[in-house]
């Protein structure tokens, strides 16, 4: 898009070294879809990626049209060139039991805690603890090796929305208010080392409307204040202008040549004898063009508001038919073309 080119944005950040991609965005901007497309894009050419869900909504299962995901990594899609996408829906209680097992060999004690309601308690009252478990789980998957090789080439997290993501990732700060020493603190510190490393990037998904853009600007600021590495701004559902700039201007000002349009419509045979009334169609087309022009102007304005962030911006098109599996593959392709994978 011309606005971006003129602004001189970097085309993309080098993503080769990034192995943990955290995808956030305001509700309704399509962050789950973008996370899934990114996992597919990163898996292209024989790679293996893990797509992680942390909010227990089973959005990934719906997207890939598979049964609800258990607390277990399983393959959900094959990427172009033989890559594989695995998915995991983290269940907080199971993660706590895994954690007890891993660090204390205490799965049985964990089950006892569960019957007493302690697990629900721990994961409810102290969101910091909950976030330690969730972030701990996907950081572990990022670091996991087998025979000296990483098990996953990349991990993509469908993270909580922009308003909460900094707090979610910044578990160290959250937990330090609660646990100053002890095993949970140690775990939190080890998670923070991964999250603050150059291996990690937090991408924010937005659409070009006032609220989501404002939330993105605020979100980037919060992430930066917490030393969390910001990757791309991903503009989702962006509309390609269907009119050239001269026509957009005329459409906005209401100066489109109506008689020419009427003549063309007759020539094209879409109005007249058996078709719709010419005047009605001309009015409708002129109105629709004006709406489109207003929308394009608004979106360009919002894109300009993102410029001072000095972040690479990727754009994904609005899919007229809604999102299906084929749509996901085309979004993945688009992310690759824009240097995200």
């Amino acid at each position: 898009m011309s606005v971006r080119a003129e602004a001189g944005y970097p085309r993309s950040m080098p993503t080769d070294d990034i192995r943990l991609h955290v995808v956030s965005g305001k509700g309704g901007t399509g962050k789950t879809t973008v996370a899934a497309a990114l996992a597919l894009a990163l898996a292209t050419k024989g790679k293996r990626t893990l797509l992680v869900e942390v909010e227990g909504r089973q959005g990934i299962a719906q997207l890939f049209d598979v049964p609800p995901l258990p607390h277990d990594e399983r393959k959900v899609a094959v990427a172009p060139g033989g890559g594989e996408v695995f998915a995991l829906a983290i269940d907080t209680e199971e993660a706590l039991l895994d954690y007890l097992d891993m660090f204390y060999n205490m799965r049985r004690a964990g089950s006892m805690l569960r019957t007493m309601g302690a697990v629900e308690f721990a994961t409810t009252i102290a969101p910091g603890l909950r976030d330690v478990l969730l972030t701990g789980k996907f950081c572990e998957a990022t670091k996991r090796t087998e025979k000296g090789q990483y098990v996953y080439d990349a991990v993509v997290v469908d993270a909580p929305p922009t308003g909460r993501v900094t707090r979610f990732l910044n578990v160290n700060r959250e937990v330090s208010g609660i646990a100053k020493v002890g095993p949970i603190r140690t775990q939190a510190d080890s998670v923070m080392r991964v999250l603050n490393s150059p291996q990690t990037a937090v991408h924010l998904v937005t659409v070009l409307e006032e609220m989501p853009v404002q939330e993105t600007i605020d979100g980037v600021q919060a992430l930066r204040e917490s030393n969390l590495p910001v990757g791309h701004i991903i503009v989702n559902m962006s509309r390609t202008p269907l009119l050239d700039s001269a026509a957009l201007e005329e459409a906005a000002e209401g100066t489109l040549d109506r008689s020419q349009i009427a003549a063309d419509l007759k020539a094209a045979g879409v109005v007249g004898r058996r078709g719709a009334s010419t005047a009605v169609v001309v009015d409708a087309l002129v109105d629709e063009a004006r709406d489109h022009a207003e929308r394009v102007t608004l979106e360009e304005g919002e894109l300009i508001r993102l410029e001072p962030l000095e972040l690479p911006v990727a754009q994904l098109p609005l899919l007229d038919d809604g999102i299906d599996l084929a749509g996901l593959y085309s979004l993945a392709q688009s992310l690759r073309e824009q240097g995200l994978a």
Partner: protein, 377 residues
């Protein structure tokens, strides 16, 4: 299939309507709908208070809301005899005020400074919903006492699931009243009794495990918090229950807000079913951002075919582009109609009110009035 329609004026002109709750999943325009309903009601003579949660900055400014101060402020620029006050919910402040109202100052201080309280009050998933409910109860009590408002319109928090608003108080209740809390407070409560000894024996093992996992200081803070909170809890639960039953009152109406997208409509379906199950009165569904065309008779296929024919002509380029634009629009119109029909197929009795997509954001009173006109059609 014929969809029953509804008109917001019938609802807001009825003096028996005292509370309107706008709910739906995140990003569907709940805040705008709530503000538009409130403004229209005020301009038709009601005394209205609207509680918004996280409104867009310019929309907030247009209602004179420049800071989050948790108190309703009069909105200027209202036409007619009615009045409108607006507020933004401050969840932490509402929680603090609730603690202060239920505890003596020493105990309140103890709770407010406990790290667990701070975590709970600022980031418990559900605190915002719970506090929205608490504030609603508070506003209603105030208007019952001094007649300040005869209608309260509430926006609900931006969670992905609309059901969170209804579930949060119960979740908070289950949680605060849970076995674990009982256990943590059990030694103090049941010392000396037979059952207490048994619980205490189990509790020893249990605290051992906890100490190992979370550390001794954390456990001490936790017990201090639970101990202090326990005494207040009865009062909290009573209020949450009172507000919840207020929602079942015939003076309450729910407006479920959605956009014609599969996720939003699925959430709307869940919500509609839940309201029916709880005996909560549903006014209808507001379907925001519905794409329309003034020339629906010209189908997407016809428009594309026309554009194709014009591409051979020398002068037809602009018109071809306009036809392509129309085709894209008609595709959206058709897809949305299909989704709306599916919703109505599943919920034939739920009246639907469609609000068209505006090209720009709604960010001033005139914009809200325009939404209001569509809500009344």
């Amino acid at each position: 299939m014929s969809t029953p329609t509804w008109n917001v004026d019938q609802l807001i002109d009825d003096p028996n309507t005292r509370i309107i709750v706008c709910c739906g999943s995140g990003g569907v325009g709940k805040t705008t709908t709530a503000a538009a309903v409130a403004l229209r009601a005020a301009e038709r003579g009601r005394s209205v208070c609207v509680m918004t949660i996280d409104p867009a900055r310019r929309l907030a400014q247009s209602m004179g809301l420049t800071e989050l101060d948790n108190e309703p402020r009069p909105v200027s620029g209202i036409k007619g005899d009615g009045q409108l006050s607006a507020m933004m919910l401050d969840m932490k402040r509402t929680f603090d005020e609730m603690v202060e109202a239920h505890a003596d100052s020493e105990r309140a201080e103890q709770i407010l400074s406990n790290p667990f309280y701070q975590a709970l009050s600022s980031s418990f998933a559900g605190t915002q919903e719970y506090m929205a409910m608490e504030k609603l109860g508070h506003l209603r009590a105030q208007s019952d006492a001094d007649g300040t408002w005869d209608l309260i319109v509430v926006d609900t928090p931006p969670s992905r699931s609309a059901l969170d608003f209804l579930d949060a108080p119960a979740r908070m209740g289950t949680f605060l009243d849970g076995r674990f809390i009982r256990l943590l407070t059990a030694p103090a409560r049941s010392a000396g009794k037979g059952i207490g000894r048994i619980v205490n024996a189990g509790f020893g093992v249990f605290t051992g495990v906890l100490t190992k996992v979370i550390g001794a200081q954390v456990l001490k803070d936790l017990q201090a918090f639970v101990g202090a909170f326990d005494a207040l809890f009865g009062g909290f639960r009573e209020r949450a229950e009172a507000t919840y039953s207020l929602l079942q009152d015939s003076g309450t109406a729910f407006i479920v807000v959605a956009v014609p997208e599969p996720d939003a409509l699925r959430e709307a379906s869940f919500f509609v079913e839940r309201l029916a199950a709880e005996g909560m009165p549903l006014a209808g569904l507001v379907l925001n951002r519905v794409q329309e065309s003034a020339a629906p008779a010209l189908s997407a296929e016809q428009a594309l075919a026309g554009a194709e024919r014009l591409s051979d002509e020398e002068t037809g380029e602009l018109t071809a582009a306009l036809l392509n634009l129309h085709a894209a629009r008609m595709n959206t119109v058709t897809r949305q109609e299909h989704l709306a029909e599916r919703f109505t197929g599943a919920h034939p009795a739920v009246p639907v009110c469609q609000v068209p997509a505006f090209a720009g954001d709604v960010h001033d009173l005139d914009g809200l009035r325009e939404v209001g006109v569509h809500l009344a059609q």
